[in-house]
Amino acid sequence: MRYSALRIAWEALTGHKGWTQAWRDPDPQPAYDYVIIGGGGHGLATAHYLAKVYGKARIAVLEKGWIGGGNVGRNTTIVRSNYLLPGNEPFYEFSLKLWEGLEQDLNYNAMVSQRGIMNLIHSDAQRDAFRRRGNAMILQGSDAELLTTDQVRKEAPFLNFDNARFPIKGALVHRRGGTVRHDAVAWGYARSADQHGVDIIQNCEVTGFRIEEGRIKAVETSRGYIGAGKVGVAVAGNSSRVMAKAGMRLPIESHVLQAFVSEGLKPVLPGVITFGAGHFYVSQSDKGGLVFGGDIDGYNSYAQRGNLPVVEDVAEGGMALMPMLGRARLLRMWGGIMDMSMDGSPFIDRTHIDGLFFNGGWCYGGFKATPASGYAFAHLLATDQPHETAQAYRLDRFLSGHMIDEKGVGAQPNLH
């Protein structure tokens, strides 16, 4: 079924009886050419591009719970392309371009809203660094604009401009950045992949890999043995656990990152705002809730919940930046498990096992990468060659010395 305004009008007049399931619920086949492990944003996007762009068939997505139940359902929904380094910025710019055409591509309302991102500047040194980043962004085809304090005041008059320690000295604005309805991303990719013949198999946990003579033969799951030509793993948060079943150790630690949402308010924030003197970022959802977050808790965790010291730290950052936040009540808070890679950058690469491919290490920046990650991973699975924008995301880069230290923050930077 194709979604359209006409369809909504028709269904409204006929009692909404014509809507069908958005995707099937098939039983697993004995074997597939491509098995994607992980029914999150990245896994579903991979399946979608593999089927639609690369024309592959016999594809399955295996998900241990329900699709979109991991980090694609637990993030702060920000999309942006404001990186500095050559290994990163082309990839994230590619991603942002895919976001811009996503809804037409998927025929699904993902509420892509390019409301802009404002990175605040609090010192002269920071202005220099942001000017350099902005120029790097523009060179890679993205957009960036440097604002003076007065210009920031016009756009966001509610900020605490005269904070004694961290006065606001301007901002780097990335107008094409914004937010996307996160769950709809998973559902839209799932629906589109399903329409292109992909089997989405939920409640199917991978318990092991069948590897013979250095080549992947099959995956063993809680719903039986499934033969596989190629296997792509996209299970960020649990990458180490899954890849350990193939005998691999990864340059990744799992950490918990908390996020928060306030009660619904009338529109107050024009876009995404980030604090340049602490780790705090905030946007307003279409329902009106202020969505915000800060640092990872800073210790290995698979618990999907954090502790109070970071809550205090985030609240302090918010109050320093935006004192009006203190009038809003907190509605919900939650934690997601991040694949913290050792240099803060992701992996999209083959492994030493033939036919086994790995996608992970997204740290706390995986959501914005969803389309490009899926596209590049599909490219790698289909052609055995890395996508041109993802060539730097190699698993062996720590051995070869080609780290991508965008901000010098991995799992344990000893900077916190």
């Binding site: 630690e253 210790y299 290995n300 618990a303 502790n307 051995l399």
Partner: protein, 101 residues
Amino acid sequence: MIIPHPLLGPRDAQEFTYLGDASLLDRPDPDAATAAEDFHAYAYLRDNPAGQHQELWFHEQGDRSWLVVTRDTTTHEILNAELARDVVLARRAAADKGADA
């Protein structure tokens, strides 16, 4: 989280900074033929288990001792804490005994 410090008793985890897996105590031999690979694995690769995890915490706001804390990464429950110095000395003693035998 409350860390049961072996000398100071229960202390808030906020007094500590976290370094990570206690395997960092086992520095590889820099003279070995495989030193480059060994140090790559030592510095960058992790077991990253879901469940019991031995990890290094530094009592920065306290007595500045390094602890080896055993903690469950799925529940954040802290099961044990020892002085890292004691852990290393015990390992060395065990290794020497093995070498003598």
